[in-house]
């Protein structure tokens, strides 16, 4: 049920809250840093020269605007809605992550910080951070779960080539959550010279709002491109969600266009049920406090955080950005989930019909497109965010399909 508010785009409030969600649940050691960051971001946001520098880098370094591509063969294949892909996988470094990293690194420079730390799951945020740090000559340390180091080897090597130090984290199930814990511990220890570059719309205020603002370039461009192309707004938007930064970037500029149906796709892993072998925080979790914010979390009866599961390292996280939690409770955005198996099918479909090898993350979004597009009319305009390319995932996919590299696929 849609709750009535004047605007869905005004959050967060001064306490960093989106309704019940968000906030600043961090150790005292970090509070002064977070307040500094909030102040500096507030100043930068009002500073035309900051945005001029961003625009220049977005255009000449990242390659923005990314195309809004009419996926003719997918549209034919589903036989329903007219499907457009927002091609953020064509960005430098192959994903949407760099949109946000550029903003944070420019801020770090303004604040005189010389050492950059980041957490990474699939490795896309780590690669983007390592890239921009190389570009500006900054020291870069990336925390990555040991499980993810194993399943995302190409990205680990990329980060090394870019001069970053990758620290494998072995605690917990050694995935994104554990990487974020370790990054926070590093930050508590090295407060003086260190800037924590968070990769998603989560963490303590002001991160969720700041990362959203930097990623909103995706939705702003989409709006302009669709108006130019079709003369009107799209009817629906679809994006995958781990922490939810690519989705928030696409959704936010459209939140007050109430005729636009907005759908976020969580990772359903082995299926959203009592086994909790999934990463669908909104579908299968409840509100709690982790990593500096209150949001929907996978947890047990005692409030202990569960590990979750997804075939996609980038979605394998037991929480979600607080603004998504709010939009869920407000009824503005629909949140659904698809399983590992469905995402793998969509992955292959994209390769064979459009010649685009997608990352496993947006393969989840495409799997949901596959569920709803066939039943929609040909004049329904649908935009799916192709937020990352799949080169990094070919080993995982080969293993899941039981294929040997160097041999052909059986089908």
């Amino acid at each position: 049920m849609l709750q009535d508010v004047n605007s869905f785009r005004e959050g967060p409030d001064e306490q960093g809250r989106f309704g019940l969600f968000g906030g600043r649940f961090v150790a005292e050691t970090l509070m002064p840093l977070i307040l500094d960051l909030e102040q500096e971001y507030g100043r930068a946001k009002q500073d035309a020269s900051f945005w001029a520098e961003m625009d220049d880098l977005w255009k000449h370094y990242v390659g923005r605007p990314s195309p809004l591509y009419f996926a003719e063969r997918l549209t034919e294949h589903f036989g329903g809605a007219k499907i457009y892909l927002k091609r953020d996988e064509l960005n430098h470094t192959g994903a949407h992550k760099i949109n946000n990293v550029l903003g944070q690194i420019l801020l770090a420079r303004r604040m005189g910080k010389t050492r950059i730390i980041a957490e990474t799951g699939a490795g896309q945020h780590g690669v983007a951070t390592a890239t921009v740090c190389a570009r500006f000559g900054l020291e870069c340390i990336v925390f990555m779960g040991a499980t993810d180091v194993e399943r995302q080897k190409p990205n680990v090597f990329r980060m090394n080539l870019l001069g970053a130090k990758v620290v494998p984290v072995t605690s917990g199930r050694a995935t994104l959550k554990d990487a974020m814990n370790e990054a926070l511990r590093d930050w508590v220890t090295n407060v003086e010279n260190t800037f924590y570059c968070i990769g998603t719309v989560a963490g303590p205020h002001p991160y969720p709002a700041m990362v959203r603002d930097f990623q909103s370039i995706i939705g702003k461009e989409t709006k302009e491109q669709m108006l130019e192309r079709e003369g009107r707004l799209p009817d629906s938007l679809i994006a995958c969600i781990g922490g939810g930064s690519n989705a928030m970037g696409l959704f936010h500029p459209f939140l007050d266009d109430r005729d636009v149906r907005i759908i976020g796709v969580e990772a359903g892993g082995h299926g959203v049920d009592d086994r909790m072998e999934h990463a669908a925080s909104l579908t299968g979790g409840r509100p709690g406090v982790l990593h500096g914010n209150r949001t929907y979390l996978l947890q047990d009866d005692d409030g202990q955080i569960l590990e979750g599961h997804s075939i996609s390292a980038g979605l394998d996280y037991p929480g979600i950005g607080p603004e998504h939690s709010w939009l869920h409770d407000m009824g503005r955005v629909e949140y659904v989930s698809v399983t590992d198996v469905e995402a793998l099918e969509a992955f292959q479909l994209s390769c064979r019909t459009e010649g685009i090898i997608p990352a496993l993350e947006p393969s989840h979004a495409l799997a949901h497109v596959a569920k709803i597009a066939p039943d929609l009319s040909p004049d329904h305009l649908m935009v799916m965010n192709m937020c990352g390319r799949g080169d990094k995932d070919i080993f995982t996919v080969a293993e899941a399909l039981g294929a040997e590299m160097g041999e052909g696929l059986s089908s």
């Binding site: 649940f25 005292e28 002064p32 840093l33 409030g303």
Partner: protein, 265 residues
């Protein structure tokens, strides 16, 4: 007067520093924790910090992380931690117990239900690491109204501008974190700590205890000279983790406590 207030008043009258000992509830099991807790006052401990296990303690080093994970693996829950405190309280009505941990298990239980259960269990104070003053409405203020002390951490990054905010709703004592970093990491340095303790004393009448990085009787003694209390955590947790018997662990605690006690002779 709360147990914490009376305890610090007694110590002040005797010109002694408080020796505060941290122990993770349920590590390696409830029976062992209870046995150690019962021995702590006799080993010279004036205040017990009882850890509430979580798998991902954001500001804690490996010693406390692993202790929490061992406790959880043994089936520890917040409810059982409260039961443990209640069991201890049956035989000791004087030693203050401060629950220390992170917010989510408390939030999950529900703040009113938690406060009621904590008071029934004989808990005196709370240290909740991820609740800074900006989130006081969550637990700090309701806890104060219910009669529990809410003990705040002040850190080297808490400057003069921020200090009043940190002290505002703090009660019982102030826990000064001696280093920027996680528990059990770098060694505390009394010389570096002293001016910060003075700064807090100027801004507040509360006792100031110092923790993070206190591992040896010598450091405990140095800190006891400049602060109202010394907190030792990881070193004791490590002792248990190494497989030391309860008697040996208590002997080790006694050596640290003696260090702190002799400091002002």
């Amino acid at each position: 007067m709360s147990r914490i207030q009376s305890r610090f008043a007694e110590l002040k009258a005797q010109n002694r520093a408080a020796f505060v000992s941290y122990i993770m509830g349920g590590d390696p099991d409830v029976e062992t924790t209870l046995e150690v807790m019962r021995g702590l006052p006799g080993a010279g401990v004036y205040v017990i910090d009882l850890g509430m296990a979580v798998p991902d303690p954001m500001a804690d080093g490996p010693a406390s992380q692993h202790a929490g994970q061992r406790a959880l693996a043994g089936g520890m829950t917040l409810r059982k931690t409260l039961d443990l405190a209640a069991e201890f309280r049956k035989n000791d009505d004087a030693t203050p117990i401060v629950l220390m941990g992170y917010y989510n298990p408390i939030y999950s239980m529900g703040v009113p239900a938690f406060l009621e259960a904590a008071i029934a269990a004989g808990i005196d104070g709370l240290i909740v690491v991820d609740l800074p003053p900006e989130e006081d409405a969550e637990l700090c203020i309701p806890a104060g109204e219910a009669g529990l002390n809410f003990i705040r951490l002040a850190t080297p990054t808490t400057d003069d501008v921020r200090l009043p905010t940190v002290l505002q709703n703090t009660s019982g004592f102030v826990y000064y974190v001696s280093i920027t970093g996680i528990t059990g990491a770098a060694a505390a340095n009394a010389e570096a700590v002293a001016p910060h303790v003075e700064r807090i004393r100027e801004a507040s009448s509360l006792p100031v205890c110092v923790g993070f990085g206190v591992r040896s009787p010598e450091t405990a003694a140095e800190i006891a000279k400049v602060a109202d209390g010394v907190v030792v955590g990881s070193a004791i947790v490590n002792k248990l983790a190494e497989g030391a018997s309860v008697a040996d662990t208590l002997e080790f605690v006694r050596s640290l406590a003696d260090g702190a006690r002799r400091a002002r002779l």
